[in-house]
């Protein structure tokens, strides 16, 4: 692993969390500035709370009203719709309505109500970056926009000729150029961290319900709702997903939790890997040994009772897509 002595790091409060950006090279400072500006733009476009965001305009829209939106919002909605189709609706951005009812989100500006029958199938993406809804719905992109912002920040860094860096938005991160060691935090024992090994050209996203403000005794709950059955999901485990794009890793952390039976197939579809940490231990899912990502957890899986555990290289690299 190369030295990071010439890497500079900056952090700003954005996306409701702390976003840290590291970059190495002669245009590092300029690249970091451009990357933070791109994240601010994504935040502005997709904030549920900002009355002028694309999300708020969608949430105020009448059925069949055609709304032009930013190409970035369109990209996020396209990915969200794909996740919804693959998970048969377990992942669904129209869950914003129920989140508002439960108090996790405020009522959107200028909108009195939403149609309880609305689902992702009522979102219609039109050509030329426009969208329309078949029913009134309140969408929330909180489960996917952070990962997208990380991807956009990386693009901004690369456009500034930054060859090597990392963007970490509150635990959803992407490393490119030189590999860097990444650890995953234990969901309950917050000072314990597990090593993933050295990561390069890949995204890592984690999801857990531990630091929610709506905490009930004995169970960690957060605003994760299973839309089809309207159940609030209680859980004390964390899911970490490694994928080639952070928007995918971010969304898949929810899909793995909400659609466990389809999770393996969906992870394979994206060539992604998942790690679940809970009280009982660590579970790892690797789609196939043919993929470049195989063997990453070799050092973690090795134990005396399973001598045949895979022992691969300890540097995990994404394929360049």
């Amino acid at each position: 692993m190369k030295s990071h002595l010439n890497e500079i790091r900056r952090a700003r409060p954005l996306l409701g969390t702390l976003v840290e950006i590291g970059a190495a090279g002669k245009n590092a400072a300029g690249g970091i500035d451009a990357a933070f500006r791109e994240i601010e733009t994504v935040h502005r476009l997709m904030s549920f709370h900002d009355a002028e965001s694309d999300v708020s305009r969608i949430n105020r829209a009448s059925p069949r009203e055609v709304l032009p939106i930013d190409h970035r919002t369109y990209e996020v909605l396209s990915c969200a719709q794909l996740m919804s189709r693959l998970s048969a609706g377990a992942f669904d951005v129209t869950v914003g309505g129920r989140l508002a009812e439960e108090g996790f989100l405020p009522r959107p500006h200028g909108s009195e109500s939403f149609d309880r029958n609305a689902s992702f199938e009522d979102i219609v993406l039109l050509s030329d970056n426009a969208v329309t809804l078949k029913r009134r719905a309140w969408i929330d992109l909180g489960g996917i926009a952070k990962g997208y912002a990380v991807d956009r920040a990386v693009i901004a860094l690369k456009k500034c000729d930054v060859a090597s860096g990392i963007v970490n938005a509150g635990g959803d991160l992407f490393v490119f150029g030189d590999s860097q060691p990444v650890h995953v935090r234990h969901p309950e024992e917050t000072s314990l961290v597990f090593p993933l090994g050295a990561i390069r050209d890949l995204a890592v996203a984690s999801s857990s319900g531990c630091f929610s403000e709506h905490r009930e005794p004995g169970a960690a709950t957060d605003g994760l709702i299973e839309p089809r059955r309207d159940l609030r999901v209680n859980w004390q485990r964390s899911v970490t997903v490694i994928a080639s794009r952070c928007i995918v890793a971010d969304a898949l952390t929810k899909v793995v939790r909400l659609a466990p039976r389809r999770a393996k197939k969906i992870l394979s579809h994206f060539g992604a890997q998942a790690l679940v940490i809970d009280r009982r231990g660590v579970r790892v899912f690797q789609p196939t040994e043919n993929e470049a990502q195989s063997g990453v957890f070799g050092s973690m899986c090795l134990n005396r009772s399973h001598p045949e555990s895979t022992r691969g290289s300890n540097c995990l690299s994404g394929s360049s897509l």
Binding site: R9, R10, A11, R12, P13, L14, G16, T17, L18, E20, I166, N168, G171, D172, L173, Q180, P181, V182, H183, V184, R185, H186, P187, T190, S191, L192, V193, F194, P195, L196, I199, S206, S207, S208, G209, C210, F211, E213, S238, T240, K264, S268, R280, G281, R283, V284, F285, Q286, P287, T288, E289, N290, F297, S299, M300, C301, L302, N303, R304, H306
Partner: protein, 176 residues
């Protein structure tokens, strides 16, 4: 042919050397560096002030935040505007940050200067760490301060957001 598998790894079998106890801390900018980052090529003259009791009351009322310190670290910026260093303390974190205000009191830019997690007594206590060591392990769980890239639940920015609201109210009451 694709072969998928779940690999079950009981926590007790994880090599102890892999798990670390981490108290993450990072210093991003000194005061001078933060000044130059937010207001490149400007000059800064210190204009530190101490809030009166009435000002503290008014700021707390407007921002709905506690004023923990009456001393405000503020510099006037040569091209107009203000550079302020503030700190917020959360349940698990201590953050020093710099906020640049435009001449009209709007936020120009915010940069974190230092960030420190604090899990207090337990993490430094070897007996607390011992509970995570499996029966086969020979080495105790070590405290590792060099871990810098962490994926996992992190805390929201609520405290910084509250700090910014307090600073903006401070501008209205004491700087304008």
């Amino acid at each position: 042919m694709r072969r998928s598998q779940w690999v079950w790894v009981p926590a007790a079998c994880l090599p102890v050397a892999g798990i670390s106890v981490s108290v993450y801390a990072a210093t991003y900018l000194t005061v001078e560096q933060a000044q130059q980052t937010i207001f490149p090529e400007q000059k800064f003259s210190p204009a530190f002030l101490t809030l009166s009791r009435e000002q503290v009351r008014e700021i707390e009322r407007r921002s709905d935040a506690n004023v923990r310190r009456k001393e405000i670290q503020v510099w006037n910026v040569s091209g107009g505007g203000y550079f302020i260093v503030d700190e917020v303390v959360g349940k698990h974190e201590f953050i020093t940050y710099a906020i640049g205000l435009n001449a009209d009191g709007t936020v120009k830019q915010i940069e974190i200067m230092t960030y420190r997690e604090s899990y207090g007594y337990e993490v430094r206590n070897a007996n607390w760490r011992a509970q995570f060591v499996g029966k086969n392990a020979s080495a105790p769980l070590k405290l590792n301060k060099d871990i810098k890239n962490i994926s996992g639940a992190t805390l929201s920015c609520r405290h910084i957001a509250d700090g910014v609201k307090r600073i903006l109210a401070t501008y209205e009451i004491a700087l304008k």
